[in-house]
């Protein structure tokens, strides 16, 4: 496994927490993003993620570098899964270690915001009556407000 990777199998989050732990770390934060069944009253059956894999891994590593430069003493690992994901499956894991806790929270939240800005990964939601690439404004299911 790598510290910044796109994977196709189920994510074991603890493996990424282990990767960032060091004797000088007093705090580790881990974020896992899961497939949620209900979004704004519309029931998701499952999700499909697609990535531009080499660029996505490069951008995940870039986010890690941004964090390690901005918050001294932090160490970061991030993985994102692609393919078909079922309800409650982990789509993304972000692990950050830091000497102090405040930084570990801030840096972790920064990572997820940056993933949503610059990492070439796309989510398609599949409902009972339709599907849509999120970020694309077409093919909304009836009844969804946006």
């Amino acid at each position: 496994m790598k510290a910044f990777e796109i994977v196709t199998e189920a994510i074991n989050p603890q493996a990424y927490a282990d990767l960032v732990l060091r004797p000088e770390a007093g705090a580790v934060t881990m974020f896992t993003g899961h497939v949620r069944e209900w979004t704004k009253g519309v029931r998701t059956l499952y999700l499909a993620y697609e990535a531009y894999v080499p660029m996505a891994e490069k951008k995940l590593a870039q986010i890690g570098e941004e964090i390690e430069q901005r918050w001294e003493g932090t160490k970061v690992a991030i993985a994102h899964r692609v393919g078909e994901l079922q309800i409650s499956d982990i789509a993304v894991v972000i692990a950050v270690s830091s000497p102090h806790r405040k930084t570990a929270y801030e840096a972790n939240e920064y990572a997820i915001e940056r993933i949503k800005e610059i990492v070439p990964i796309w989510k398609k939601e599949i409902w009972e009556d339709g599907e849509e690439w999120i970020g694309d404004q077409k093919k909304k299911p009836e009844g969804e407000l946006k």
Binding site: Y52, K116, V119, P120, D136
Partner: protein, 77 residues
Amino acid sequence: MISLHYFAGLKEQTGVSEEQVDLAGRTVDELWQWAMDKYPDFQTGAARVAVNEEYALPTDVLEAGDVVAFIPPVSGG
């Protein structure tokens, strides 16, 4: 030749995930003109362009061998 990659909703519009095109020497902005002529559903601003896995500017010039990707709004996480 340069290789062009399409993802997510854009791939459904083009019907292909990848194609080889003879656009070396053109700018990214000219690439967009070419793409909108070929794929009527394409709209400038509906995607970013990456050249060799880095986001590119409209004025960047494509070179033979470049790997170019249309990146629609991302939605990871």
